[in-house]
Each structure stands twice: as C-alpha cells, then as structure tokens.
C-alpha cells in the first residue's frame, strides 16, 4: 500500500549514501541515521510547545485586553522558557500519604504515548519518522493509553479532587474516542489506506479544492470537537475544572512532574492540530499544487533545487495549517464557557456518536455512487 514513487526529498537515502561514501557499511549508516529523525521530531515537538505557550499567553491577553508577557525577550517570546526553567528548579514534592511509585509513573505514562504518536505525522512525502501502514490507527490506539496515566496519577495522589479529576479524564477520553475514530474512519475509507502519507496524497490532486474538508465537513467538525475533548481544552477541560476540582489530577503535582503534564497537554494540542491538517486540510499540500506552479515556471519537478523548495513549502504549509488550528483552539479556550459533565457526556454519546455514524454511512454511500469524487 505504501507508495514511494512520488517525487520528493528522500533525506534518508541521500544521508546513507553519503556515509557509505566515507566507507561505512550500509548497516552502520542506517544505524547512524535512525536516531536523527527521532531527535529532530522531539526537538520540533518541544519548540512547538514553547511557541504554543507564548501564543496562549499573548492571545489570552489580547482577548482580555491586556498586554501579556512583555519583558522576557522581544514581545515576551522568552516567557515560555522562563516558565520551563521555573518548573525545573521547583522542589519536587511527593505527598506523604501518596503512592510514590504510581505518583511518579503517572505523568510519564501520560507523556510517552503523545510523543510516540509523532511517529506518523508527515511533513512531506518522505519527511516523517516512519510511514507505518497502520498510520493514523496507531495514533488512535496510542492516545487510548493516556487515560491510564491520568487514572494512575489521580489515584496515587490520595486526594479526592485528584481522583475525581482522573475519573473524569478517563470517562471523557473514552466517550470522545469513539466519534473521533468514526470520523477518521470516513476519511480512511475515502483514501483506501490508514497511512498518513497516502491520506495526504489522496488530497493532493487539485490543490485546495481536493482537500478533505470539502468532502467531509461534518467529519471535520466532529473530529475537531473530539480532538479538543481529548486534549482537555476548554470548553471540555472538566478534568481540571479549577472551580470544582482545584486542578483535577494535577492538584498534588509540582516541579518537573507537573511540567510533564503541562508538556503533554500542549504537545497533544499541537499533535491534534497537525493531524487535523493532515486528515482534512491537505497536509503539506500548497493551496495550488506545486507541480502546476513548477510547470508554469517551466521547471522540471525532479530538479534538486525545485525539490528543496517543494520540501520547505511542505513543512511551512503543515506548520502553518496546524498553528492556524492552534490559534482557533486558543481563541475557543478564552471565549467559551465550560460545559457541565452531564452535558459533556450527552454531547459525546447522544449527539456526536450518531452523527459520526450517519456521516460514515453517507460517506460509504457516496463512495459507491461517485467513486471518482470520493476515492472509489
């Protein structure tokens, strides 16, 4: 199913050929290549979080007609780093009556699946860590591990607010995973593949017009609502509703353990935004196909310079789309009120789930009726 015939930068083979030119064996060259994309993506994820925190502070300030962080760097761009440093130097407290082992393991279990899911986020035809065949399904299954970490930290804190927060997080995550998976399933059905690269390639036919958002508008809205609920963003931040639960499962945490939760939630937000852009907004595709642009300029698409520009445009487009969605999420967070827990569960089970099922059925019917337009 995985097609590697489309043109695009293939850094892996060029890197390995260069190393083999120095007289290394192919195995050793591959071994040297392996950690590079992982480290790169980890750095990208952390930098993404820093940008995200800065955006959150600035946009929330603008929404509330404040100035926001100003003194740390120009326009306060260094504020997130200051935040991070503060958390690093804080005392790491384990409450006396808490369960030390589970208390430490909880935040780790929350963060690891989120970071692992970056495995399948493509920034270009070959610009992803691994084009695994199960692609998007890997993300869905990994994100289902997270509630265990939340339950673990909620239970281990030995605090009723923490436990309630953990239980709410698990209930919320289970309820919204189903409509989320159904929305993804409709997209997968149209692209005949679970691989994220194939999903993007299927949308790259005629630029902005072939993006999935036009064919799956309902699915897009369902996915976005469910992604916000999975990230525990307002209006769905019930697990840490501060008026009711102090801070939910994070109540007893401080220092680096709290930072892991913080990092996890923001990495998850960026990841969700990236996946929305991959599934519905054409991934790395430019609104006008780069092949057409290259054709109009009379350049061959396989030329090294054109490929370099195409690759860079791809990365910029992916990040741009993702941060547009992050901007939307931040605006939503600072302008909408929180839903109640029964409203949340009603919305998930009684509204989104039936709508997602109907959406799936209609997509299947349309795929049979118009195989040309709906990826037959």
């Amino acid at each position: 199913m995985v097609t590697n015939t489309a043109p695009g930068l293939d850094l892996e083979s060029s890197f390995e050929q260069a190393l083999q030119g120095f007289g290394l064996s192919p195995g050793a060259a591959h071994l040297l290549w392996l950690p590079l994309p992982m480290v790169l993506v980890l750095v990208a994820a952390v930098v993404g979080v820093l940008v995200n925190v800065w955006l959150e502070r600035k946009i929330s300030a603008a929404v509330q007609q404040r100035i926001g962080p100003e003194y740390a760097g120009a326009l306060g761009v260094l504020q997130p780093i200051a935040d991070g440093l503060k958390l690093v130097f804080k005392e790491d407290i384990i409450p006396a009556k808490a369960d030390g082992l589970l208390f430490t393991l909880g935040p780790v279990l929350v963060l690891i699946p989120v970071i692992l899911s970056w495995l399948v986020v493509p920034f270009g035809q070959h610009l992803l860590i691994s084009n695994v065949g199960i692609g998007i399904f890997l993300w869905i299954s990994l994100s289902s591990i997270q509630p265990i970490g939340l339950l673990m930290s909620g239970y281990a804190s030995n605090n009723k607010y923490s436990l309630l927060g953990g239980l709410r997080a698990a209930a919320q995550s289970i309820s919204y995973e189903i409509p989320l998976a159904l929305a993804v399933l409709a997209v997968v059905m149209m692209s005949n593949s679970l691989s994220t690269v194939d999903i993007v390639n299927q949308q790259s036919g005629s630029g902005i017009l072939s993006w999935n958002i036009w064919r799956q508008p309902v699915g897009f809205v369902i996915f976005w609502i469910c992604a916000l609920a999975e990230c525990e963003r307002l209006p769905f931040d019930l697990p840490e509703a501060e008026e009711e639960l102090v801070a939910g499962y994070q109540t007893e945490y401080s220092g680096m353990k709290f930072a892991l939760f913080y990092l996890g939630s923001y990495i998850n937000l960026v990841l969700s935004a990236l996946l929305v852009s991959v599934l519905y907004l054409g991934g790395w595709g430019f609104p006008i196909p780069v092949e057409w642009l290259a054709g109009w300029l009379g350049q061959p698409i396989d030329a090294p310079l054109v490929q370099l520009i195409t690759g860079s445009v791809g990365i910029v487009m992916t990040v741009l789309k993702a941060y547009l969605l992050v901007f939307l999420a931040i605006l939503l967070r600072w302008t909408t009120p929180r839903v109640r827990i029964d409203q949340l569960l009603d919305l998930g089970w009684k509204f989104l789930l039936p709508i997602a099922l109907v959406n799936l059925l209609i997509t299947a019917a349309l795929k049979l009726a118009f195989p040309g337009a709906f990826g037959g």
């Binding site: 199913m1 195995g27 199960i134 299954s141 591990i145 265990i148 698990a170 289970i174 995973e177």
Partner: protein, 200 residues
C-alpha cells in the same frame, strides 16, 4: 548475527520477561489497584509481541481494545468502589492457596508438554506485513462473517442488560423480584432526605 536480529532477540526477551513477571504480579499482588495497572502492562507487552510477529494492525487493535477500553474500565470500576478496608480473613487460606497453586502448576506442566511435543512448522508462514489490514477485512466479510455478527449481537445483548440493570427507575417492575416498583418511594425509604428528629 546482524543488528536487526540482535535487536529482535533483545526485544523478545524483554517483552517476555515483562509479560511473565507482570502476569505473576497481577495474580499474586495483594493490592488490587496494582494488579489492575500491571494488567495494562501485560496487555501492552502482548501487543509488543504481536508487533514482533509483523502484525502491526493486531498490535494496535490490542492496545486500543484491551489497554484503552478493557483495562480502563476495570480501573474505573475499582476506583469507584475502592474502599480502603482490610478484607476479613478467610478460614483455611493456606490450604486454598496450596490447592490453587497445585492446579496452576499442573496446568503449566501440561502446557509445557504440549509445547514441546507439538511439531511446530518452522519457519512459519510468510508474514503479510502491511497487507494484514486488508486480509483481516476480507476475512471479516467472508468466512468469519457469522462469528463477527454473533459477537456483535452478544455485545448488544450485554449492553442492553447493563442498561436495564443501571436504569431500574424507568421500569415499572423490579427486574429481579418482579414486583411493582415505585422507585421514587423506595429511594426515599433507603436514603431519607430529612432525618427524623427524636421525639420531644
């Protein structure tokens, strides 16, 4: 030995050790919450073993269903009813442990014997790799269609049963005793909103 096969061997050993130790912990630990969390670890290492057999779809489904749904529900149930109280000592606990240990040991020996006497075809059938998703779909819609549909009917039945048990207030008769019920009155009887004051 190449790098790939060494990595595979290390992964296999690590996964197997986690699996066996975790499973023993699930059974032997006195704290039920630890057992439940370890069960999640056991499911994850089973998924890892599937991954090593090139069955990535099955591995992901294992994580989604067993870790993400079954284990979370088990934890949920434990945490909602978790009263930190010591269980009353059961008479003859030592004898019971001995008996269950003997049964498990016998079963283990039997399985070992089966594993060593069965002629396993080595190497096994060629891995289908990424094609597995398509192959599973074809099987689900052809020769496994009936078991698949039966499983879904079973799940539907258990779901309806759970709803009936949980929502007795919408039924006019009690499910178990068959008597006419006015749930509002009964609930008031069990948990009086206003405690009766002592007679003056």
């Amino acid at each position: 030995m190449t790098i790939a096969s060494t990595t595979q061997l290390i992964c296999f050993v690590v996964l197997s050790v986690t699996l066996v130790l975790g499973a023993l912990g699930v059974v032997l630990l006195p704290n039920i919450v630890y057992s439940a969390f370890l069960l999640g670890g056991v499911f994850l290492s089973v998924a890892g073993l599937y991954l090593m057999l090139n069955a990535s779809f099955v591995a992901a489904a294992q994580v989604l269903v067993y870790v993400g749904a079954v284990n979370v529900l088990i934890l949920f149930a434990i945490m909602l009813v978790n009263k930190k109280e010591n269980l009353a000592a059961i008479p003859g606990l030592g004898l019971r442990r001995l008996l269950s240990g003997a049964v498990c040991g016998g079963l283990f020996l039997l399985l070992i014997r089966v594993a060593f006497t069965t002629p396993w075809p080595l190497p096994g059938p060629a891995a289908v790799g990424e094609e597995a998703t398509i192959r599973i779909g074809e099987h689900l819609f052809s020769d496994y269609l009936l078991p698949f549909e039966l499983a879904s009917v079973l799940l539907l039945m258990s779901m309806i049963g759970a709803i009936v048990l949980a929502r007795r207030d919408v039924l006019s008769t009690d499910v178990i005793t068959g008597e006419l019920v006015d749930q509002g009155l009964i609930e008031k009887e069990r948990t009086p909103l206003l405690l009766e004051k002592s007679p003056r």
